[in-house]
Amino acid sequence: MNKKKELFVLLPAIPFLLFIPFIWRLSMGNFTLPGEYSYYYLSLLTRFGIPSLQYHFVYWLLSIASTSFLALLFYRIVKVHTTSALTRITATLFFVFTPITLYLSMSVSPYLLALILLFFGLNLIESRYPYASILPFLGLLFFDWLTFLSSVIIVVGYFSYVGKKRVVNIIPLVVFFAALFFFLHFFLQFPFVIEKTHPASLLVGLFSSFGSTHGLGIFMTLLSIIGLALSWQSKMKFLPVYICTTLLLVLFLFAGEPALYFLNPIIVGFASYAYVSLWRREWALSLIRTLTLATLAYGVLFSGLASITQKVQSDPTQDILASVEWLHNHPFYSDAVVLSHPQKGFWLESDGVRRAYVDYLADDTKQDVTRKIFESRDFKKTSALLEENDITLLWIDGEMRNGQVWNEGDEGLLFLLNSGVFLKVYNKEGIEVWKVR
């Protein structure tokens, strides 16, 4: 297959795959972006006058376009290193259908931009103007330290893998970039956060099949282990890739899930290598070949579909954002401090007003106060805590009532809400806002 035909396959296939969750969520009547962190970043955009409570489908479409571009940049990198069209197409489609890429296409995330800059830089290294790659790499300095460190690992690893430069030669450049990074972040306070979904364990955080939103697909990982084993024959050539993988895994262990965004392309690389090798390998049993390859493809597809299902059905709903809009437009409550579950924090602040008492970034003290208020059935204690922390409103939805915070109708704070000492000021579609009388 020539390269034009490849693009003829990939150019419609990539956006088509990325549009599946969009259409699905839209068909459910939900026009909001799924997840929580997108709303944190959208709230930052309000500083530039960009509306954050409306036009979510526009942001989503922009994310789909950006992710499609990212996938094409990934394809171009793969193209440089393999002559096989099958490998290129497999790798690109695998990349698009990983839970991580799908997540990026459904959210507003700086990590998507960081990955685009990184891949663009790597593309330029292979172009006629390799020094132009410095520009996108300079852009990476404006992101968080995890992005910077992961990018350094990948860029150094890439240089070593392609043999363009010896690692020692690029160390001064890395040191210069690191100095620039610290200088920039010392003077400019970038409000980036390192996304964490607080998984129950490391393995749960690592794999999307175990519940992580940022996790790797279990079949993709399984395939990548096979790919790694197959690549062992040329272990010296792949040594920089092995080191990169190990370092990114260490980063994931100690820093958090976003390191997986940067590990994902390497995992996809090994996985597609394994898949194509299994495809081309001479099999003794042709039936088993067909079935094995089909099972593996279904496995990859299943991880992607499971991840899509999980995200498409996740909150927020239109009603949640409507309650935020109500708060935003209210003459008295627009900047009142609101207490809710930490998961709701970014949604409550999506209009750019810092009103949530707790969110995923809240410290332990705030989390502890929240827990005490939710558990308490003592009005004096509860009102003292609310007053001490300037909390005016309580925001409660069905999910909180059904297991997220309480299991029974009169448990903890719900008992106080039923007793009449609080006033319900908003009640629509299971979302309630309460105020102390």
Partner: protein, 500 residues
């Protein structure tokens, strides 16, 4: 196709053995009209399929309502049979029929490995009278009754991969096993162990073998992720222990001792199997035996690390050891013939065969005669609950009685021993234990209030489980004895304290 190499005499013998085993099992199975306590979980699923044609995915009775995740094939198979035959007959006969295939499969495997029909018949006979297989599955309705023969049938097919048709059989059976019981993971571990042992012993593996092993791994994992996706999301890796509270896990294993294991497996398979493992792992290279050796080692390790229920582990281990006893038998007979007293060889052979009677047959039949299922007094009490209590009543009983209670009395239960997707399993278990053992009526009333308990079923089994002879607070006004027959008492709880 697998029987083409068998002589007519062998086919007749193994056919007769199958019929004899089936009749023996059926005889014991019908001695008691009820099933084991945990089988009532499977009973309800099969009954639901027979009635509605659909799998039970949400149980409105257990824990006051909880989702159910099971692999469907076994239940659909029995549900389908229940459309053709009476349900009770299907439930009694089908599991015994499936289990009766074990000796046949053992015969075929050992026959293929040793080319000695005597050894094959010896192993098959041992597998009939393994106490843990014969006794523990007598009143069972678990999918494991089909999973065990299927798993070993897969290993048998694996010995014939040179045949074109066996590949198709392998694919079908491995897929079926993956849709019947998660114990297929034992097979995967054994496959990986086989690859490892073969590598260590520097034996050349057939390309087809490796392909089949990897296919099995992928297909099993894929199906597990499809069916248990929700449980994976809910429990993460804790799913491997099925969310069983630590207290119950420890209870399973506290009763296990070396002597206990010997009794469960039987002396002859144990010593025969261990001897074969030693001989063929360290002295003689035999690739076809490594699969069974690695399976035996894998199951032992799983038992050691408490990752498998002891009875299930012992069942797999004992079948493996029975298979390995075949080559051990051949080795011993040949060895004896080489000694100076070789003229006693027929006598020696006879002694080995006769040993089966005191060491296997008698203990197994004795244990089978003693084996109990759901006791008639408990059955009567549960039926009484169905006819004499309001439909929305909640009944508190010991965890192991939960499934039977839901199935027979059709009333809501507080707990049973299926803990998947239960968020507060440990808490409930502790609460139920306290409800039976607390000396304080107020504490009991609080617990009754917490779980809306209307009735308490107090049986002999509950007395034994909690080491008590009576409920300490039974004389308080709050407890009204409404049923007392044959050692089973039912109380109506008149007081409940709701913490507000």
């Amino acid at each position: 196709m697998f029987f083409t190499t068998m002589k007519k005499r062998e086919v007749v013998i193994i056919g007769l053995l199958f019929i004899a085993v089936f009749l023996l099992r059926i005889y014991f199975a019908f001695k008691n009209p009820h099933f084991s306590y945990d089988s009532y979980f499977d009973f309800r699923i099969i009954e639901h399929i027979a009635e509605t044609g659909k799998l039970l995915t949400f149980d409105h009775l257990a824990y006051g309502g909880r989702p159910v995740i099971v692999l469907p094939l076994f239940y659909y198979l029995l549900g389908l049979l229940a459309w053709l035959f009476p349900l009770q007959l299907v439930l009694k006969v089908a599991p015994q029929l499936f289990l009766s295939f074990i000796p046949v499969i053992v015969f075929l495997i050992v026959g293929k490995i040793t080319n000695e029909s005597n050894a094959a018949f010896f192993s098959a006979l041992l597998s009939v009278f393994v106490p843990v297989i014969f006794v523990d599955t007598l009143y069972s309705l678990s999918p494991i009754t089909l999973a065990i023969p299927l798993l070993f049938f897969i290993l048998f097919i694996f010995l014939h991969i040179e045949k074109e048709t066996s590949v198709l059989f392998f694919v079908l059976v491995i897929t079926a096993l993956s849709l019947i019981h998660p114990s297929g993971i034992i097979l995967l571990i054994a496959f990986l162990g086989y690859l490892l042992v073969s590598m260590i012993e520097t034996l050349k593996l057939e390309k087809a073998e490796v392909e089949l092993i990897f296919f099995s791994i992928f297909v099993f994992l894929w199906l597990m992720f499809i069916f248990y996706k929700r449980a994976f999301l809910f429990h993460g890796l804790a799913l491997l222990q099925q969310n069983i509270p630590q207290e119950i896990v420890s209870r399973y294993f506290t009763h296990i001792s070396f002597t206990g294991a010997l009794v469960q497996i039987g002396l002859l398979p144990f010593f025969g199997g261990v001897f074969a493992i030693y001989k063929y792992l360290f002295n003689i290279k035999n690739k076809s035996l490594y699969m069974y050796i690695s399976l035996a080692i894998s199951v032992t390790l799983l038992l050691w690390f408490r990752l498998i229920q002891p009875s299930l582990g012992f069942i797999f281990l004992s079948v493996c050891l029975c298979i390995l006893s075949g080559p051990a038998y051949v080795f011993l007979i040949r060895y004896f013939k080489k000694t100076r007293i070789s003229h006693f060889a027929p006598f020696f052979t006879l002694v080995i065969w006769l040993l089966i009677i005191p060491l296997m047959v008698i203990p197994t039949l004795y244990l089978a005669a003693q084996k109990g299922s759901l006791s008639p007094p408990v059955y009567d009490a549960m039926i009484w609950l169905q006819t004499h209590t309001p439909e929305d009543s909640v009944v508190l009983a010991a965890p192991h009685e939960g499934h039977a209670l839901a199935a027979l009395s059709d009333r809501k239960t507080v707990i049973d021993d299926y803990f998947l997707l239960i968020t507060d399993a440990e808490e409930r278990l502790n609460d139920v234990t306290r409800a039976f053992t607390t000396p304080f009526a107020t504490e009991a009333a609080k617990l009754f209030g917490k779980y809306d308990v209307d009735y308490v079923l107090f049986s002999k089994e509950a007395k034994a489980a909690y080491s008590i002879t009576y409920l300490a607070y039974k004389n308080e006004d709050c407890m009204n004895e409404v049923y007392n027959q044959n050692g089973v008492v039912i109380f109506n709880t008149r007081c409940r304290i709701k913490i507000t």
